[in-house]
């Protein structure tokens, strides 16, 4: 099939275009800008018929307007990064609580202070408990595919939750990769017109977002159940997706895990680098594999535990940090393994903050440290970018 060179930002914009998003509120922030500039250009050229491209005065207003449009039944797309995502934080919970299937591309960038423009995952993972579905792409093809899938999953009546599709800033957002851009007809077959059942409409007054008393807990529980339902929906959607587009994704991405004694757990674009390093280490006879986390919420507990259950030692590589604790995904992995009959050793590595390059040699270094830990029977939690801190 014909491949086109596009950046991650453009891949997300193609997703919004192909799903025929009707409303695109936006506010510029590096490194997301190219995504909304692409949509602005298409809008000006008449390539987005029936879509309103709305320039807002802040990210907070972007998500607020997204809520307003989704509440009356519009299919909404937006994108942001870093500080912008944090400014939206308040309204993210509201969008999830109102069960509005908004889809947003997040282009990860480290958080201030000090200022960095480059990527790490703290901005994205800061939204972990917001009630959104959270997907994290490895490459630009997956960015586009995830946007298409995100709408299908988010709009499913068993789910009805907003969804974030994350990509790493710069590494993906500004890097051209050859990808397959599906035809509008294929996407229409995969994702029909949005026809919400509970929206505000003429002759049907609806109250959205009122206060509640003791029922609060029921609504929160429904949000949780809907997110858990998404796990099944995600798997179901893969059949249709594969049938129409010829590509298939799984709840987790497993790489050379069949006989792996050592497993690296990664997220996002650094996984590609790690896979290359693993191929080289395999040539040296090291039995190492990789588990890439691509769905952060809902948490695919069984898929993660199943993929890791035979490992002897695991290195959780976090491109983020919870100061005073360590990597954010490190304890999530340990908790997931806790009920296994046999517990592997789990070490944690904080790497690549503020775009610090995660090279193949660093991946190999982590693997060797993991082998040392296994030999010593002692896990570690380490800040791998630095000699000492």
């Amino acid at each position: 099939m014909k491949q086109t060179l596009v950046t991650g930002n453009e891949a997300a914009a193609w997703g919004a275009r192909l799903v025929r998003a009707k409303y695109i509120p936006n506010f510029p922030i590096t490194p997301q800008t190219e995504c909304i500039e692409t949509l602005a250009r298409w809008s000006a050229d008449g390539e987005l018929p029936g879509t309103y491209f709305d320039r807002m005065e802040s990210e907070h207003s972007v998500m607020s307007a997204a809520v307003g449009a989704a509440a009356v039944g519009s299919r909404v797309f937006t994108a942001t990064s870093s500080q912008g995502l944090l400014l939206m934080h308040e309204v993210l919970y509201i969008a999830a609580g109102m069960r509005l299937p908004i889809v947003m591309a997040t282009i990860s960038r480290g958080l201030s202070a000090p200022v960095t423009l480059w990527s790490d995952h703290n901005d994205f993972l800061d939204q972990r408990d917001s009630g959104w579905l959270m997907f994290h792409a490895e490459n630009n093809q997956e960015v586009l595919d995830m946007v298409l899938q995100a709408y299908r999953i988010a709009e499913d009546p068993r789910v009805l939750l907003p969804a974030m599709v994350n990509m790493d800033g710069y590494v993906l957002s500004f890097t051209d990769e050859p990808i397959i851009i599906p035809s509008p007809g294929q996407v229409e077959e995969f994702l029909p017109k949005y026809a919400p059942a509970h929206t505000i409409a003429k002759n049907r007054p609806v109250t959205v977002g009122p206060p509640v008393l003791e029922e609060y807990s029921i609504f929160r529980a429904q949000n949780h159940v809907a997110s858990r339902n998404a796990l099944n929906v995600i798997e179901e959607v893969q059949d249709d997706f594969e049938k129409i587009f010829g590509r298939r994704y799984h709840l987790v991405d497993e790489f050379m895990l069949e006989d792996a004694e050592l497993v690296l757990v990664t997220q996002g674009s650094m996984s590609t680098t790690a896979k290359a390093a693993i191929l080289e280490m395999r040539d040296e006879g090291i039995k190492v594999g990789l588990l890439r986390l691509r769905i952060i919420r809902p948490w695919p507990n069984e898929a993660v535990a199943g993929a890791l259950k035979d490992a002897k030692a695991i290195a959780v590589i976090d491109r983020n940090v919870a100061p005073g604790k360590g990597g954010i995904m490190f304890p999530e992995i340990i908790e997931t393994l806790y009920n296994l009959d046999r517990l592997p050793l789990v070490s944690g590595f904080v790497v690549g903050l503020g775009g610090n390059p995660q090279t193949e040699s660093k991946v190999k270094e982590i693997t060797h440290k993991l082998m040392d830990d296994l030999a010593a029977g002692r896990p570690r939690m380490e800040w791998n970018d630095l000699e000492e801190i």
Binding site: Y23, M56, A71, V72, V91, P210
Partner: protein, 301 residues
């Protein structure tokens, strides 16, 4: 455009029914009840967090129109999204109306309001101004008048004046956004409803600010809401005027204003304001009134 000539013209049909949790004598809820008579049931009210947020309480609502409460600082942006969503789906004839308090309008939501107005979104923005953060128990906002006591501007030995900050001139600010901007009063419902009716027909942004007398915060007998609202207009505390295309139109002109004392002495929030404070407040009111008289029927912003 639907025009109201007298009280008799005001429709009997209500879209704000019984069963709300608002205080007896609540000005803002009366304002919404009146507004819905013009706006009708094909309206989405976009509310910002405040007293009115408690009108619907799951699973009940006193309203026969749609309602979205998002947060406190984003009613205008939520409204913009709803407007475009409706327009896109062929529901362009539904009204999108913000009903937000003064704190949500003057302070925390000002950026979103300013942007929606600058973009001339087809929204009616009604600010119910009770001159405070009312729902949290009456704290200072930039709409609080000089000399008012609030929970965060209490009178004390060091500061007997209470609030020493002069409130924002919001009408002028909104007028400068080149939109339709008007004040309104519960004591002049015909004027209020005509302004709403006009806003409803406009192909763009309208800002209407209603003085929302607050029986609990202002500390007066709930029976006096309309009387106090009327006095506010007669004393020049709340002049009725509108700005369109930058031109000022004074809707209720008086040869002479009543002294502000009459308005102040009815309310607990001004009870202990020292005479110098009353004088300063009177000065501020006189200055504003003189300015309105000077620019009436002329370019104002």
């Amino acid at each position: 455009m639907q025009e109201f000539k007298s009280l008799k013209d005001i429709p009997e049909q209500d879209y704000f029914t019984g069963g709300s949790s608002a205080c007896a004598g609540c000005g803002p809820s009366l304002g919404l009840k009146l507004a819905l008579k013009v706006l009708g049931p094909e309206t989405i009210i976009i509310n910002s967090a405040g007293c009115m947020t408690l009108l619907p309480l799951y699973p009940n609502t006193p309203l026969k129109a749609s309602w979205i409460h998002n947060a406190i600082e984003n009613a205008a942006s939520t409204a913009a999204g709803a407007r475009h969503g409706l327009d896109n789906l062929g529901n362009g004839d539904m009204n999108v109306v913000v009903y937000a308090g003064d704190g949500a309008t003057y302070d925390i939501g000002f950026a979103s309001l300013s942007a929606a107005a600058a973009k001339n979104e087809r929204i009616i923005y009604i600010c119910y101004n009770n001159q405070s953060y009312g729902n949290t128990g009456f704290q200072w906002s930039t709409a609080t008048p000089y000399g008012s006591e609030t929970k965060t501007t209490p009178r004390g030995k060091e500061n007997p004046t209470g609030n020493t900050i002069v409130n924002k001139d919001m009408l002028k600010i909104m007028g400068a956004h080149r939109v339709y901007a008007a004040t309104a009063s519960l004591a002049y419902p015909v004027d209020f409803l005509n302004k709403l009716s006009r806003a409803k027909e406009r192909d763009g942004f309208s800002y209407i600010e209603l003085l929302g007398a607050c029986t609990a915060g202002w500390n007066y007998d709930p029976r006096l809401t309309i009387k106090i609202s009327k006095l506010a207009v007669r004393c020049g505390m709340w002049p009725l005027y509108e700005i369109e295309h930058g031109m000022l139109n004074l809707n209720k002109d008086f040869n002479e204003l009543k002294p502000i004392d009459e308005f102040l002495k009815m309310q607990g929030r001004y009870r202990a304001l020292p005479p110098e404070g009353v004088e300063r407040l009177q000065e501020l009111i006189d200055e504003h009134w003189a300015e309105l008289k000077e620019y009436n029927k002329q370019r104002y912003v």
